[in-house]
Symmetry: D5
Subunit: 118 residues, 10 copies
Amino acid sequence: MHKDKIKLLEIFDNPYPGRDYSIVHTAEEFTSLCPVTGHPDFGKIIISYIPDKKCVELKSMKYYLQSYRNEGIFFEALTNKILDDLVKILKPRNMIVTGEFKNRGGIRSTIKAEYLKK
Amino acid sequence: MHKDKIKLLEIFDNPYPGRDYSIVHTAEEFTSLCPVTGHPDFGKIIISYIPDKKCVELKSMKYYLQSYRNEGIFFEALTNKILDDLVKILKPRNMIVTGEFKNRGGIRSTIKAEYLKK
Amino acid sequence: MHKDKIKLLEIFDNPYPGRDYSIVHTAEEFTSLCPVTGHPDFGKIIISYIPDKKCVELKSMKYYLQSYRNEGIFFEALTNKILDDLVKILKPRNMIVTGEFKNRGGIRSTIKAEYLKK
Amino acid sequence: MHKDKIKLLEIFDNPYPGRDYSIVHTAEEFTSLCPVTGHPDFGKIIISYIPDKKCVELKSMKYYLQSYRNEGIFFEALTNKILDDLVKILKPRNMIVTGEFKNRGGIRSTIKAEYLKK
Amino acid sequence: MHKDKIKLLEIFDNPYPGRDYSIVHTAEEFTSLCPVTGHPDFGKIIISYIPDKKCVELKSMKYYLQSYRNEGIFFEALTNKILDDLVKILKPRNMIVTGEFKNRGGIRSTIKAEYLKK
Amino acid sequence: MHKDKIKLLEIFDNPYPGRDYSIVHTAEEFTSLCPVTGHPDFGKIIISYIPDKKCVELKSMKYYLQSYRNEGIFFEALTNKILDDLVKILKPRNMIVTGEFKNRGGIRSTIKAEYLKK
Amino acid sequence: MHKDKIKLLEIFDNPYPGRDYSIVHTAEEFTSLCPVTGHPDFGKIIISYIPDKKCVELKSMKYYLQSYRNEGIFFEALTNKILDDLVKILKPRNMIVTGEFKNRGGIRSTIKAEYLKK
Amino acid sequence: MHKDKIKLLEIFDNPYPGRDYSIVHTAEEFTSLCPVTGHPDFGKIIISYIPDKKCVELKSMKYYLQSYRNEGIFFEALTNKILDDLVKILKPRNMIVTGEFKNRGGIRSTIKAEYLKK
Amino acid sequence: MHKDKIKLLEIFDNPYPGRDYSIVHTAEEFTSLCPVTGHPDFGKIIISYIPDKKCVELKSMKYYLQSYRNEGIFFEALTNKILDDLVKILKPRNMIVTGEFKNRGGIRSTIKAEYLKK
Amino acid sequence: MHKDKIKLLEIFDNPYPGRDYSIVHTAEEFTSLCPVTGHPDFGKIIISYIPDKKCVELKSMKYYLQSYRNEGIFFEALTNKILDDLVKILKPRNMIVTGEFKNRGGIRSTIKAEYLKK
């Protein structure tokens, strides 16, 4: 089921491929489920990258993030999977995905994963 | 139509060309249109540079930024175009243009492009 | 389907029925769906009341609020329905339910409904 | 020209007409033009009301507010006109319209007008 | 066991009994246990009163509040019991005790109880 | 000298004289001189009123407030004089002038004066 | 020793005795000693009044407040004494003195005393 | 007694061992006792690490931190011991433990200890 | 006229010349005039330096900054001139002067100039 | 007189001498006197260090800082002296003392001095 999410993402041509510049998208209203208890988790997903030939289309990324709404997934796996999916379709020069998750049992967690083109 | 905007910008002589120093202008009230839906976008434009021989005149820069009010333009293109226009007329030692755009469909975006004189 | 939600709520005896005192519960992480577009809505639900013979049990109220996660409902209907359900099982001396909903299309909305025992 | 704006507003039946409850819509991103200088004004419009038989539909209200984007209008006239238009189509039990306008020449202004059904 | 706590409280003579004036003590670092799960609860206790003949001594009140550290007690019972204990020893002209408890399962609660001398 | 300041103020016809509504102008950048030491004072002036037949024109009010820049005047006298001048030319239904003055010798002061039409 | 403090206060004629208006002085940097332990206490003193014939001179009030620096005095006594002293020399139409004292042993305290001319 | 705490911690396999990524857990509600006076200390514990083969399970870490509730321990020893315990069971690539402790006698303290795999 | 300002600055011997340490003075209440329109500009001046043999005396620096009150000067020239004047009399090991100027026509500006002893 | 202050400081053995870790103590409520005018100065003292064999005992440091209450001392001398005294008794691997002093005549000052073991 997880594999199909990536098909929701759409891309467009980077309008300024000759210059390194950064794009940061912050989705404040992210929710998924805890894979153990089934209870909802809430958080913020921050996607920061230097595009190469392609940029991610904003509306499609919104649908992609919404597709986690009713799935159980650990924070660590979620953050790394979003990075993998976006790297696969964008092949960016650099990308960092950060998941800031709200309080669960008195502890809040932030996961941050980076990709750097070799 | 985009080409004519640059004519709105006026410059004056850098009063301290012998020293590297930085100038940051922050325009909190920027608005343009989404090129797809035609709906208004709102944001903040931050122009940061080390002047060489010329500085940009503040009032003319205000008119330049206002000229985007009724034009449809993507965030990525907008930020890079403002950088291109200002670099063209100022030939600064360094310049960074940042566009911080407000929430659209639950996601807010920041684009940051840099120019460095070789 | 809406009718069954009320069964999720559990109550316990007010430990100090001889005194008027107020209880406010604030659930920061509420989400439901827009009945028109199917897109997720996010908000905060504030339940404030003066108990009479019964108080609402916290964990059951959490499950009750989570039961709206995948249902399409207008803000106005949602806020009033929560008030109706809680009044029905608690018969409080007074109750105010406030729904503070996040930005949708650039506009955020707050709905506030009050019940007063006659 | 001003007269046609009201046609943009759509209404729907109040789902809980038997109870007095309040609805507040806050549009953070409002812009119009100064009727004297033609320069853009920016502000926030807050519409607060107790519905009677009708509620205003959110998307139509967004289009209504956007219709001021390129019109010159004084803050005092604008705030009162929004109140008049909404009262005309909603006939609410009570309504307050507040316009909070950003800094112009070092002074920021707030206009607040109220309607109470007799 | 609860009954003995009140013995920890010490009082002193109100230095200005001829005038109605208010005293507010805010203890930011309160902790007790959930009577159901045994897990720690954290919160803030605000004691506000108009003294009559007696004031509560600050250090003794600190020890009184610390005495709840390892006891299981519901928020509603706790707030009302603190009010009862303080009213009993101070016989104030008026007293309000507010307990603001931190997030438990995504919901935070505030309990507020008042005593008014007849 | 003080008497001539009032001539700087310009007025225009209230566009909605049939309705009581409030106008608040906040000038964040006010400066005058201490009449004793000659040192600069800084503060914020807030003018809030219900107009009757006339409103004050914004630009002229800016010039009026700037005219205090190099005059020595006590906070108490200043706030009351602004109220007197504006009441004289506007004859409003109600007006409150508030002066919030910054720290001078470790103490900051706020003066608030009100006029109510009889 | 306490009795002599009042001699530090100086007054001047109210420039607008014909109108009720309010004056608030906030001294952020107040310090005295705990009469029991001798340790320093820190706080903020807020003096709010409606003057009758006299106003308090700002610099003299600063010296008056500084005179508590090395004296041991309880918060309740301190706040009431400042009110007594100022009422004695100003005979205001109304006065409220508020002392907001910083954290001592995890508890912060606010004392508020009011005088109303009969 | 301290030695047994480590047994409370549970681990799970790092789902993305092939990539360096960071995990930060912030526990806002930590409390222990002062080993000298026996009075409660309150603080925030921040655990930041780059996992190697194992991650710490969130609920077990909550129980581990709660186990300090009634133990007397100095801030310096506490922060270093948490680091030692977590390094022992996780063998992370890097770990930083920060303890931010609230005001005690007017002074608040932060202790920060780091481990780097050789 | 500008040349005479430097005479207002007084200096004293650095009490710890054997150690590199930094001094930052922040003047929140700076005002000068726009050289084009004559309108007042407001801002904050931050002076940060590592002293060598001399330090600047605080009161004299306050008078120096106040001397710009009624002079027309561009932000870029002002910031660089303050740096030049202070470097001339202090001969510091390093100095940075930052001018943060408030909103003018919707744009706020920050100028930052640095001096480093060779 | 200054020389005796250091005797107030007490030390204890670093419990983890084998690891470089940092300790930061922040005293929010510091007060001394201006050596010129005798008026009170207020500020915050931040002591940050990497301990070697010894740590400073918290309560003794509080008494040490309180000993400046009635002494006239310049900010620059004060910050450097605290650093000297603490370095002398602790011989830390590294230490930074920062003094953030409140507004005096409209200017606030921060002094920061560092010691690094050679």
